[in-house]
Symmetry: C2
Subunit: 219 residues, 2 copies
Protein backbone atom coordinates (compact mmCIF):
# COMPACT_ATOMS: atom_id res chain seq x y z
CA UNK A 1 0.00 0.00 0.00
CA UNK A 2 1.51 3.25 -1.16
CA UNK A 3 1.26 6.70 0.37
CA UNK A 4 -0.18 8.01 -2.88
CA UNK A 5 -3.21 5.74 -2.65
CA UNK A 6 -3.82 6.56 1.03
CA UNK A 7 -3.64 10.34 0.95
CA UNK A 8 -7.16 11.34 -0.10
CA UNK A 9 -6.45 14.37 -2.28
CA UNK A 10 -3.21 13.14 -3.82
CA UNK A 11 -4.45 13.13 -7.42
CA UNK A 12 -5.65 16.70 -7.14
CA UNK A 13 -2.26 18.09 -6.10
CA UNK A 14 0.08 19.74 -8.59
CA UNK A 15 3.27 17.96 -9.63
CA UNK A 16 5.32 20.45 -7.59
CA UNK A 17 3.20 19.84 -4.49
CA UNK A 18 3.47 16.07 -4.91
CA UNK A 19 7.25 16.34 -5.33
CA UNK A 20 7.55 18.51 -2.24
CA UNK A 21 5.57 16.05 -0.10
CA UNK A 22 7.45 12.99 -1.37
CA UNK A 23 10.80 14.72 -0.74
CA UNK A 24 9.90 15.34 2.91
CA UNK A 25 7.92 12.18 3.60
CA UNK A 26 9.15 9.57 6.08
CA UNK A 27 7.66 6.20 7.00
CA UNK A 28 8.03 5.18 10.64
CA UNK A 29 7.15 2.14 12.69
CA UNK A 30 5.93 2.98 16.19
CA UNK A 31 5.92 0.26 18.82
CA UNK A 32 2.73 -0.39 20.76
CA UNK A 33 2.66 1.89 23.81
CA UNK A 34 5.16 4.39 22.42
CA UNK A 35 4.35 8.09 22.41
CA UNK A 36 4.55 9.94 19.10
CA UNK A 37 3.58 13.40 20.13
CA UNK A 38 3.42 15.04 23.50
CA UNK A 39 2.51 18.73 23.57
CA UNK A 40 1.63 21.72 21.46
CA UNK A 41 5.32 22.70 21.44
CA UNK A 42 6.18 19.43 19.81
CA UNK A 43 5.43 19.85 16.08
CA UNK A 44 5.88 16.36 14.74
CA UNK A 45 4.12 16.90 11.44
CA UNK A 46 1.00 15.59 9.77
CA UNK A 47 0.54 11.87 10.43
CA UNK A 48 -1.15 9.43 8.09
CA UNK A 49 -1.72 5.98 9.53
CA UNK A 50 -0.66 3.22 7.13
CA UNK A 51 -1.69 0.42 9.47
CA UNK A 52 -2.18 0.15 13.20
CA UNK A 53 -3.98 2.30 15.72
CA UNK A 54 -3.25 5.59 17.47
CA UNK A 55 -4.95 7.17 20.45
CA UNK A 56 -5.08 10.93 21.08
CA UNK A 57 -5.72 11.83 24.70
CA UNK A 58 -5.35 14.57 27.25
CA UNK A 59 -3.78 14.31 30.69
CA UNK A 60 -4.80 15.96 33.95
CA UNK A 61 -2.21 17.38 36.33
CA UNK A 62 -2.76 14.31 38.48
CA UNK A 63 -1.99 12.01 35.56
CA UNK A 64 -5.56 11.00 34.71
CA UNK A 65 -6.29 10.46 31.02
CA UNK A 66 -9.23 10.66 28.67
CA UNK A 67 -9.26 9.59 25.03
CA UNK A 68 -10.22 12.39 22.65
CA UNK A 69 -10.19 10.37 19.44
CA UNK A 70 -8.62 7.31 17.86
CA UNK A 71 -6.99 6.95 14.47
CA UNK A 72 -7.19 3.82 12.36
CA UNK A 73 -5.83 2.87 8.94
CA UNK A 74 -5.75 5.84 6.53
CA UNK A 75 -6.78 8.31 9.22
CA UNK A 76 -4.97 11.63 9.40
CA UNK A 77 -3.77 13.37 12.54
CA UNK A 78 -3.70 17.12 12.26
CA UNK A 79 -2.93 18.17 15.81
CA UNK A 80 0.47 16.52 15.74
CA UNK A 81 1.20 19.47 13.41
CA UNK A 82 -0.62 22.06 15.48
CA UNK A 83 2.18 24.57 14.92
CA UNK A 84 0.71 25.12 11.46
CA UNK A 85 -2.50 26.32 13.16
CA UNK A 86 -1.67 29.34 15.32
CA UNK A 87 -5.05 29.22 17.03
CA UNK A 88 -4.79 25.59 18.15
CA UNK A 89 -3.87 26.14 21.78
CA UNK A 90 -4.10 22.86 23.61
CA UNK A 91 -1.91 19.93 24.52
CA UNK A 92 -2.70 16.53 23.19
CA UNK A 93 -0.72 13.34 23.57
CA UNK A 94 -0.66 10.70 20.86
CA UNK A 95 0.41 7.14 21.48
CA UNK A 96 0.32 3.90 19.55
CA UNK A 97 -2.31 1.44 20.80
CA UNK A 98 -0.92 -1.20 18.45
CA UNK A 99 2.34 -1.46 16.51
CA UNK A 100 1.70 1.21 13.93
CA UNK A 101 3.23 2.16 10.59
CA UNK A 102 2.69 5.76 9.69
CA UNK A 103 3.82 8.39 7.24
CA UNK A 104 4.92 11.78 8.48
CA UNK A 105 4.63 14.89 6.31
CA UNK A 106 6.84 17.55 7.91
CA UNK A 107 4.76 20.40 9.32
CA UNK A 108 6.65 23.03 7.30
CA UNK A 109 6.09 21.20 4.01
CA UNK A 110 2.37 20.86 4.70
CA UNK A 111 2.04 24.46 5.87
CA UNK A 112 3.55 25.80 2.66
CA UNK A 113 1.21 23.77 0.48
CA UNK A 114 -1.81 24.61 2.61
CA UNK A 115 -1.03 28.31 2.37
CA UNK A 116 -1.01 28.32 -1.41
CA UNK A 117 -3.69 25.72 -2.14
CA UNK A 118 -7.39 26.28 -1.46
CA UNK A 119 -7.91 22.57 -2.09
CA UNK A 120 -5.46 21.50 0.64
CA UNK A 121 -6.71 24.18 3.05
CA UNK A 122 -10.30 23.04 2.56
CA UNK A 123 -9.29 19.41 2.95
CA UNK A 124 -7.59 20.37 6.24
CA UNK A 125 -10.82 22.09 7.26
CA UNK A 126 -12.78 18.90 6.73
CA UNK A 127 -10.29 16.84 8.76
CA UNK A 128 -10.53 19.35 11.61
CA UNK A 129 -14.33 19.48 11.42
CA UNK A 130 -14.43 15.68 11.69
CA UNK A 131 -12.26 15.79 14.85
CA UNK A 132 -14.37 18.64 16.16
CA UNK A 133 -17.45 16.46 15.79
CA UNK A 134 -15.75 13.70 17.76
CA UNK A 135 -14.87 16.09 20.58
CA UNK A 136 -18.44 17.44 20.65
CA UNK A 137 -19.68 13.86 20.89
CA UNK A 138 -17.28 13.37 23.80
CA UNK A 139 -18.59 16.48 25.56
CA UNK A 140 -22.13 15.14 25.25
CA UNK A 141 -21.07 11.75 26.60
CA UNK A 142 -19.19 13.20 29.54
CA UNK A 143 -21.95 15.68 30.38
CA UNK A 144 -25.13 13.70 29.96
CA UNK A 145 -24.30 10.00 30.14
CA UNK A 146 -23.72 7.96 33.26
CA UNK A 147 -20.52 5.93 33.38
CA UNK A 148 -22.29 2.56 32.92
CA UNK A 149 -23.69 3.78 29.57
CA UNK A 150 -20.25 5.06 28.58
CA UNK A 151 -18.57 1.75 29.45
CA UNK A 152 -21.18 -0.11 27.38
CA UNK A 153 -20.63 2.27 24.43
CA UNK A 154 -16.86 1.89 24.72
CA UNK A 155 -17.06 -1.93 24.70
CA UNK A 156 -19.22 -1.82 21.56
CA UNK A 157 -16.83 0.62 19.85
CA UNK A 158 -13.89 -1.59 20.78
CA UNK A 159 -15.69 -4.66 19.44
CA UNK A 160 -16.32 -2.84 16.14
CA UNK A 161 -12.64 -1.87 15.85
CA UNK A 162 -11.34 -5.32 16.83
CA UNK A 163 -13.90 -7.13 14.73
CA UNK A 164 -14.80 -9.61 17.48
CA UNK A 165 -16.42 -10.12 20.87
CA UNK A 166 -13.34 -11.15 22.86
CA UNK A 167 -11.60 -7.90 23.80
CA UNK A 168 -8.14 -7.93 25.35
CA UNK A 169 -8.74 -5.03 27.76
CA UNK A 170 -7.73 -4.43 31.35
CA UNK A 171 -10.01 -2.42 33.62
CA UNK A 172 -7.24 0.16 33.86
CA UNK A 173 -7.12 0.59 30.08
CA UNK A 174 -10.87 1.19 29.94
CA UNK A 175 -10.58 3.71 32.80
CA UNK A 176 -7.85 5.62 30.94
CA UNK A 177 -9.97 5.81 27.80
CA UNK A 178 -12.98 7.13 29.69
CA UNK A 179 -11.23 9.45 32.14
CA UNK A 180 -12.35 7.63 35.26
CA UNK A 181 -10.89 5.43 37.99
CA UNK A 182 -10.16 1.73 37.62
CA UNK A 183 -12.37 0.90 40.63
CA UNK A 184 -15.36 2.53 38.92
CA UNK A 185 -14.81 0.44 35.79
CA UNK A 186 -14.43 -2.75 37.83
CA UNK A 187 -17.72 -2.07 39.62
CA UNK A 188 -19.56 -1.44 36.33
CA UNK A 189 -18.06 -4.50 34.58
CA UNK A 190 -19.15 -6.69 37.50
CA UNK A 191 -22.65 -5.25 37.21
CA UNK A 192 -22.65 -6.00 33.46
CA UNK A 193 -21.44 -9.53 34.19
CA UNK A 194 -24.24 -9.95 36.71
CA UNK A 195 -26.70 -8.92 34.01
CA UNK A 196 -25.23 -11.50 31.62
CA UNK A 197 -23.96 -8.90 29.16
CA UNK A 198 -20.24 -9.64 29.50
CA UNK A 199 -17.94 -12.35 30.82
CA UNK A 200 -14.77 -11.26 32.61
CA UNK A 201 -11.43 -13.02 32.85
CA UNK A 202 -7.89 -11.81 33.39
CA UNK A 203 -7.10 -9.05 30.87
CA UNK A 204 -10.16 -9.97 28.82
CA UNK A 205 -13.74 -8.79 28.45
CA UNK A 206 -16.01 -10.99 26.37
CA UNK A 207 -19.26 -9.52 25.07
CA UNK A 208 -22.18 -11.93 25.48
CA UNK A 209 -25.15 -9.67 24.76
CA UNK A 210 -24.43 -6.85 22.33
CA UNK A 211 -28.13 -6.01 22.01
CA UNK A 212 -28.33 -5.51 25.76
CA UNK A 213 -25.19 -3.35 25.67
CA UNK A 214 -26.65 -1.27 22.84
CA UNK A 215 -29.89 -0.76 24.74
CA UNK A 216 -27.95 0.27 27.84
CA UNK A 217 -25.62 2.61 25.97
CA UNK A 218 -28.46 4.47 24.20
CA UNK A 219 -26.56 4.30 20.89
CA UNK B 1 -18.64 50.67 12.50
CA UNK B 2 -18.65 49.10 9.08
CA UNK B 3 -18.58 45.43 8.12
CA UNK B 4 -15.42 46.06 6.11
CA UNK B 5 -13.46 47.12 9.18
CA UNK B 6 -14.73 44.19 11.29
CA UNK B 7 -14.12 41.31 8.91
CA UNK B 8 -10.46 40.47 9.51
CA UNK B 9 -9.30 39.52 6.01
CA UNK B 10 -11.45 42.02 4.10
CA UNK B 11 -8.54 43.91 2.53
CA UNK B 12 -6.99 40.73 1.22
CA UNK B 13 -10.08 39.67 -0.73
CA UNK B 14 -10.40 40.31 -4.46
CA UNK B 15 -12.85 42.92 -5.71
CA UNK B 16 -15.13 40.16 -7.00
CA UNK B 17 -15.12 38.39 -3.62
CA UNK B 18 -15.86 41.64 -1.81
CA UNK B 19 -18.72 42.40 -4.19
CA UNK B 20 -20.16 38.94 -3.75
CA UNK B 21 -20.11 39.23 0.06
CA UNK B 22 -21.62 42.72 0.10
CA UNK B 23 -24.37 41.62 -2.29
CA UNK B 24 -25.43 38.81 0.06
CA UNK B 25 -24.76 40.49 3.39
CA UNK B 26 -27.56 41.30 5.82
CA UNK B 27 -27.47 43.13 9.13
CA UNK B 28 -29.86 41.83 11.77
CA UNK B 29 -30.80 42.84 15.27
CA UNK B 30 -31.45 39.89 17.58
CA UNK B 31 -33.33 40.46 20.82
CA UNK B 32 -31.82 39.20 24.05
CA UNK B 33 -32.92 35.62 24.63
CA UNK B 34 -33.78 34.93 20.99
CA UNK B 35 -32.41 31.91 19.19
CA UNK B 36 -30.46 32.44 15.98
CA UNK B 37 -29.54 28.93 15.09
CA UNK B 38 -30.84 25.63 16.26
CA UNK B 39 -29.40 22.52 14.61
CA UNK B 40 -26.98 21.27 12.01
CA UNK B 41 -29.85 21.22 9.50
CA UNK B 42 -30.35 24.92 9.97
CA UNK B 43 -27.70 26.63 7.85
CA UNK B 44 -28.08 30.24 8.82
CA UNK B 45 -24.76 31.44 7.42
CA UNK B 46 -21.56 32.87 8.79
CA UNK B 47 -22.27 35.30 11.64
CA UNK B 48 -20.10 38.27 12.50
CA UNK B 49 -21.04 40.02 15.74
CA UNK B 50 -21.18 43.79 15.33
CA UNK B 51 -22.10 44.41 18.94
CA UNK B 52 -23.68 42.31 21.66
CA UNK B 53 -23.10 38.82 22.86
CA UNK B 54 -23.98 35.33 21.64
CA UNK B 55 -23.81 32.02 23.41
CA UNK B 56 -23.30 28.68 21.66
CA UNK B 57 -24.50 25.71 23.68
CA UNK B 58 -25.62 22.12 23.44
CA UNK B 59 -28.76 20.59 24.88
CA UNK B 60 -29.30 17.20 26.44
CA UNK B 61 -32.42 15.15 25.71
CA UNK B 62 -33.67 16.19 29.14
CA UNK B 63 -33.23 19.86 28.30
CA UNK B 64 -30.03 20.49 30.23
CA UNK B 65 -27.59 22.95 28.66
CA UNK B 66 -23.87 23.62 28.66
CA UNK B 67 -22.17 26.59 27.05
CA UNK B 68 -19.58 25.64 24.45
CA UNK B 69 -18.31 29.12 23.65
CA UNK B 70 -19.39 32.74 23.66
CA UNK B 71 -19.06 35.33 20.93
CA UNK B 72 -18.39 38.99 21.61
CA UNK B 73 -17.91 42.03 19.34
CA UNK B 74 -16.16 41.16 16.08
CA UNK B 75 -16.23 37.41 16.80
CA UNK B 76 -17.18 35.05 14.03
CA UNK B 77 -19.48 32.07 14.28
CA UNK B 78 -18.67 29.30 11.87
CA UNK B 79 -20.95 26.52 13.05
CA UNK B 80 -24.06 28.50 12.20
CA UNK B 81 -22.90 27.72 8.65
CA UNK B 82 -21.95 24.12 9.33
CA UNK B 83 -23.52 23.00 6.04
CA UNK B 84 -20.39 24.33 4.35
CA UNK B 85 -18.36 21.78 6.37
CA UNK B 86 -19.60 18.30 5.47
CA UNK B 87 -17.70 16.74 8.36
CA UNK B 88 -19.21 18.97 11.04
CA UNK B 89 -21.77 16.56 12.47
CA UNK B 90 -23.16 18.02 15.64
CA UNK B 91 -26.02 20.18 16.80
CA UNK B 92 -25.31 23.48 18.40
CA UNK B 93 -27.78 26.14 19.48
CA UNK B 94 -26.91 29.83 19.33
CA UNK B 95 -28.82 32.44 21.27
CA UNK B 96 -28.36 36.11 22.04
CA UNK B 97 -27.30 36.80 25.63
CA UNK B 98 -27.74 40.53 25.02
CA UNK B 99 -29.47 42.50 22.29
CA UNK B 100 -27.08 41.79 19.45
CA UNK B 101 -26.43 43.32 16.05
CA UNK B 102 -24.82 40.92 13.64
CA UNK B 103 -24.00 40.55 10.00
CA UNK B 104 -24.89 37.35 8.19
CA UNK B 105 -22.92 36.16 5.18
CA UNK B 106 -25.09 33.54 3.44
CA UNK B 107 -23.53 30.08 3.69
CA UNK B 108 -23.53 29.57 -0.07
CA UNK B 109 -21.70 32.85 -0.72
CA UNK B 110 -19.05 32.01 1.85
CA UNK B 111 -18.69 28.43 0.62
CA UNK B 112 -18.01 29.55 -2.93
CA UNK B 113 -15.31 32.00 -1.86
CA UNK B 114 -13.75 29.51 0.53
CA UNK B 115 -13.59 26.90 -2.23
CA UNK B 116 -11.61 29.12 -4.55
CA UNK B 117 -9.50 31.08 -2.07
CA UNK B 118 -6.67 29.53 -0.03
CA UNK B 119 -6.62 32.70 2.05
CA UNK B 120 -10.28 32.40 3.07
CA UNK B 121 -10.00 28.64 3.62
CA UNK B 122 -6.98 29.13 5.88
CA UNK B 123 -8.72 31.93 7.73
CA UNK B 124 -11.67 29.57 8.29
CA UNK B 125 -9.20 27.00 9.58
CA UNK B 126 -7.91 29.43 12.17
CA UNK B 127 -11.42 30.33 13.32
CA UNK B 128 -12.23 26.64 13.72
CA UNK B 129 -8.93 25.91 15.51
CA UNK B 130 -9.73 28.70 17.99
CA UNK B 131 -13.15 27.19 18.73
CA UNK B 132 -11.55 23.76 18.94
CA UNK B 133 -9.21 25.10 21.61
CA UNK B 134 -12.17 26.42 23.57
CA UNK B 135 -13.92 23.06 23.42
CA UNK B 136 -10.73 21.27 24.53
CA UNK B 137 -10.51 23.70 27.46
CA UNK B 138 -14.12 22.83 28.27
CA UNK B 139 -13.37 19.09 28.21
CA UNK B 140 -10.52 19.66 30.66
CA UNK B 141 -12.74 21.73 32.94
CA UNK B 142 -15.57 19.21 32.91
CA UNK B 143 -13.26 16.23 33.39
CA UNK B 144 -10.78 17.43 35.98
CA UNK B 145 -12.25 20.39 37.83
CA UNK B 146 -14.76 20.25 40.64
CA UNK B 147 -17.88 22.38 40.25
CA UNK B 148 -16.81 24.97 42.87
CA UNK B 149 -13.67 25.71 40.83
CA UNK B 150 -15.75 25.95 37.66
CA UNK B 151 -18.24 28.34 39.26
CA UNK B 152 -15.33 30.54 40.46
CA UNK B 153 -13.79 30.52 36.96
CA UNK B 154 -17.16 31.36 35.38
CA UNK B 155 -17.70 34.33 37.71
CA UNK B 156 -14.25 35.68 36.84
CA UNK B 157 -14.88 35.23 33.10
CA UNK B 158 -18.24 36.99 33.44
CA UNK B 159 -16.62 39.83 35.36
CA UNK B 160 -14.01 40.23 32.62
CA UNK B 161 -16.74 40.34 29.92
CA UNK B 162 -19.00 42.71 31.88
CA UNK B 163 -16.10 44.89 33.00
CA UNK B 164 -17.29 45.05 36.61
CA UNK B 165 -17.80 43.14 39.85
CA UNK B 166 -21.61 43.36 40.03
CA UNK B 167 -22.91 40.57 37.83
CA UNK B 168 -26.61 40.35 36.97
CA UNK B 169 -26.82 36.55 37.06
CA UNK B 170 -29.41 34.16 38.39
CA UNK B 171 -28.35 30.80 39.79
CA UNK B 172 -30.26 29.16 36.98
CA UNK B 173 -28.30 31.09 34.34
CA UNK B 174 -25.00 29.96 35.86
CA UNK B 175 -26.25 26.37 35.98
CA UNK B 176 -27.19 26.50 32.29
CA UNK B 177 -23.75 27.80 31.35
CA UNK B 178 -21.97 25.06 33.30
CA UNK B 179 -24.26 22.13 32.54
CA UNK B 180 -25.31 21.49 36.11
CA UNK B 181 -28.37 21.88 38.31
CA UNK B 182 -29.49 25.15 39.89
CA UNK B 183 -29.40 23.60 43.38
CA UNK B 184 -25.71 22.76 42.94
CA UNK B 185 -24.93 26.36 41.96
CA UNK B 186 -26.92 27.72 44.90
CA UNK B 187 -25.00 25.52 47.33
CA UNK B 188 -21.63 26.61 45.90
CA UNK B 189 -22.55 30.32 45.83
CA UNK B 190 -23.60 30.12 49.48
CA UNK B 191 -20.27 28.50 50.30
CA UNK B 192 -18.43 31.29 48.43
CA UNK B 193 -20.50 33.86 50.31
CA UNK B 194 -19.57 32.18 53.60
CA UNK B 195 -15.91 32.48 52.61
CA UNK B 196 -16.41 36.20 51.90
CA UNK B 197 -15.65 35.86 48.18
CA UNK B 198 -19.07 36.95 46.87
CA UNK B 199 -22.18 38.72 48.08
CA UNK B 200 -25.54 37.43 46.87
CA UNK B 201 -28.75 39.31 46.31
CA UNK B 202 -31.78 38.70 44.07
CA UNK B 203 -30.56 38.17 40.48
CA UNK B 204 -27.14 39.53 41.35
CA UNK B 205 -23.74 38.14 42.32
CA UNK B 206 -21.19 40.66 43.53
CA UNK B 207 -17.53 39.64 43.56
CA UNK B 208 -15.79 40.74 46.78
CA UNK B 209 -12.52 38.82 46.56
CA UNK B 210 -11.29 38.18 43.02
CA UNK B 211 -7.89 36.99 44.28
CA UNK B 212 -9.61 34.37 46.41
CA UNK B 213 -11.75 33.31 43.43
CA UNK B 214 -8.67 33.07 41.22
CA UNK B 215 -6.85 30.94 43.80
CA UNK B 216 -9.89 28.66 44.07
CA UNK B 217 -10.40 28.38 40.32
CA UNK B 218 -6.76 27.42 39.62
CA UNK B 219 -6.63 29.87 36.70
Amino acid sequence: MEFQSCFPIWNKLTQAQQDSILAGLTLRRIQKGAMIHNSSLDCTGLLLVKSGRLRAYILSEEGREITIYRLLDRDICLFSASCILRSAQFDITIEAERDTDLWIIPAEVYRQIMEESALVANYTNEVMAARFSEVMWLVEQVMWKSMDKRVAAFLLEESAIEGGDRLPLTHDTIARHLGTHREVVTRILRYLQGEGMVKLSRGMVELLDTKGLMALSDI
